[in-house]
């Protein structure tokens, strides 16, 4: 085969233009996918009294009633997650309300904190934060954990395999696993899969019908608000500015759709949680501030992925030019 320098350059240019147009074309398509109109919830810790005179906080109760049909109905006996000598089964502890379980998607932390020399009771309703860029959703290997257009992050119980990766990558380890239920039972339940992951879905079905989440309606002190995310974010910021208060959930993990406002710094609240609520098992949730979202720093990765084909075309240009410049084309 013969090739002149000119024909080489022509072909190399054409392939380079082709590669570049594919890349820029893809960029245009993808630029239009950002959604608007997310909803959010806001917990006013200055109003929440933890329903201390009730057996169960009203928001927790409302959540359990509303989601009764969504709770798992596992097949017994539930086998261990081979080769691990354990499995997760909360079906015998459905009554538990003081932690997150597959049967309890929100709980209230009753804390005593010391602030400015005073002992103050603080009650913190906990549930999924519904992050703006949720690692649990983006990293789900089966693509069945979704950041919905309305804002809630929703796990599809029909597609979930129960590997609990979402719980591992969630900064708060919110989703909880129930074994003996779900898709893995249909595949090789002795060897792979672990059940289905459960967590708050912000009552996604109700939101789509134009209603509010169950916990919002149930709160006797209107301590839980529901509305468009930007409105609640603005409300929280204004409130904090006017009252020298604090906001949680606006910056954490790159931003969430679950805000908390309080007169007490969240560093102080988190210390109380660590001291009084955490017990070393999943389902008890800390409140660390300024959590960084590892997926929010993709700059170098992205430019690397975009530069890779360009570098490939250039390198091939050099290689093929050297082969052809050699005069003979006998692959020497």
């Amino acid at each position: 085969m013969t090739m002149t320098r000119r024909s080489f350059l022509k072909r190399a240019t054409i392939s380079g233009i082709a590669a570049a147009s594919i890349m820029t074309g893809a960029g245009k398509v993808l630029a239009g996918t950002r959604s608007t109109g997310n909803y959010a919830i806001l917990h006013d810790l200055n109003k929440c009294d933890g329903c201390v005179h009730q057996d169960t906080p009203k928001c927790v109760l409302a959540c359990r009633v509303k989601n009764e049909l969504n709770f798992p109905q596992p097949q017994q006996p539930i086998k261990n997650y081979w080769p691990q000598p354990k499995h997760e089964d909360w079906s015998g502890k459905r009554h538990v309300t003081d932690r997150l379980t597959p049967y309890n998607w929100t709980y209230v932390q009753h804390l005593e904190v010391e602030h400015q020399g005073k002992k103050i009771e603080v009650h913190v309703p906990r549930k999924c934060m519904h992050c703006d860029n949720p690692p649990c959703s983006t990293l789900c290997p089966f693509g069945v954990n979704d950041k919905t257009a309305e804002g809630p992050v929703v796990i599809n119980p029909k597609g979930c395999f129960g590997g609990a990766k979402c719980r591992d990558v969630c900064p708060w380890h919110i989703p909880q696993r129930q074994g003996g239920v779900g898709l893995y039972l249909e595949v090789v339940p002795d060897l792979a899969g672990g059940g289905v992951m459960y967590k708050c879905d912000m009552c996604h079905d109700l939101i789509k019908q134009g209603q509010q989440p169950a916990c919002v309606n149930a709160c006797p002190r209107n301590a839980i608000m529901f509305g468009p995310q930007y409105e609640l974010h603005e409300y929280a910021q204004n409130w904090a500015r006017q009252n020298q208060g604090y906001v949680y959930g606006d910056e954490e993990n790159g931003g969430t759709a679950n805000f908390y406002i309080s007169m007490i710094p969240f560093e102080v609240i988190n210390l109380a949680i660590i001291d009084q609520d955490l017990d070393g098992t999943t389902g008890r949730v800390d409140m660390a501030v300024n959590i960084e979202n590892p997926l929010d720093e993709p700059g170098n990765i992205l430019s690397g992925l975009l530069m890779a084909p360009v570098a490939g075309v250039l390198a091939a240009g050099i290689s093929t030019y050297q082969i052809m410049k050699g005069g003979n084309d006998v692959e020497d």
Binding site: S15, P83, D168
Partner: protein, 248 residues
């Protein structure tokens, strides 16, 4: 006497592809929560394997290498016009004949530089890699802050990416299993050195051998890539094939 089979560009492509796919498969499977559960992270040196972010970024890095080398190879093919590995009409039938010949049911066809089944296997592998790159890039976009794909898009991206992972893994296994067949083994060395025995070419790749000699006669070269007596040897090679069928 050796013949050049794989030039530096091809060997470079092959080994960068192989290494990046190896890393991509290992880290890709690590996106499922398997290495902790099955104690892989207890093996010496593999403690990082159950760290989802570590495997994710390794996956991205290896993906860069694969995209780089894919662009390199496509450009190389377009510029050099060496289409030996691209499937042709009749390849499916011909590869059936090769399988039949392995069982002694038919004569092996006169092979070109690559066997029909190699060309078909290449097409499957290349298509899988292409599908994985496209769905993979979309999955990276999805992970960016502010990027929200529809529920269905996310689901199908994951399914297609996972499906082609399985197809690619199978094609890698088939590729490696090919070296269980003794007749294919000299090709392992040639992917390192670039060279292969002339006798092997004469016996296994008669059509390529003819082509090499024809090219050299046409180019007016007095010294073929092989030997001054190339044409003569080619004739002998053919007669050797005629007598013994798939003797190689």
């Amino acid at each position: 006497m050796k013949i050049k089979r794989h030039n530096t560009a091809i060997r470079f492509t092959h080994w960068v592809t192989a290494m990046s796919i190896f890393v991509l498969l290992f880290t890709g499977f690590g996106q499922m929560p398997v290495y902790k559960r099955y104690y892989v992270d207890q093996l010496p040196g593999l403690a990082w394997s159950s760290n989802f972010l570590a495997t994710l970024y390794l996956h991205y890095l290896a993906a860069m290498a694969l995209i780089f080398i894919s662009a390199y190879y496509v450009t190389y093919l377009i510029v050099s016009k060496r289409w030996d590995i691209i499937p042709r009409r009749g390849d499916f039938k011909e590869s059936m004949q090769i399988f039949a010949s392995m069982l002694g049911l038919a004569e092996e066809p006169e092979n070109d530089k690559y066997l029909a089944e190699q060309r078909l296997a290449f097409a499957v592998t290349a298509f899988s890699v292409m599908a994985l790159i496209v769905t993979g890039i979309l999955k990276v976009y999805k992970n960016l802050p502010g990027m929200e794909f529809s529920v269905g898009t996310v689901f199908w991206l994951a399914q297609i990416h996972n499906l082609f992972t399985v197809i690619l893994l199978l094609s890698v296994i088939v590729h490696l299993a090919a070296f269980l067949i003794k007749a294919n083994r000299p090709l392992v060395a040639s992917m390192f050195t670039g060279y292969i025995d002339r006798e092997y070419v004469i016996h296994r790749h008669a059509a390529w051998w003819d082509k090499l000699n024809k090219e050299h006669r046409e180019a007016g070269l007095t010294s073929p890539p092989v030997h001054p007596e190339a044409v003569l040897i080619a004739e002998q090679g053919k007669s050797c094939l005629d007598k013994t069928g798939n003797s190689s």
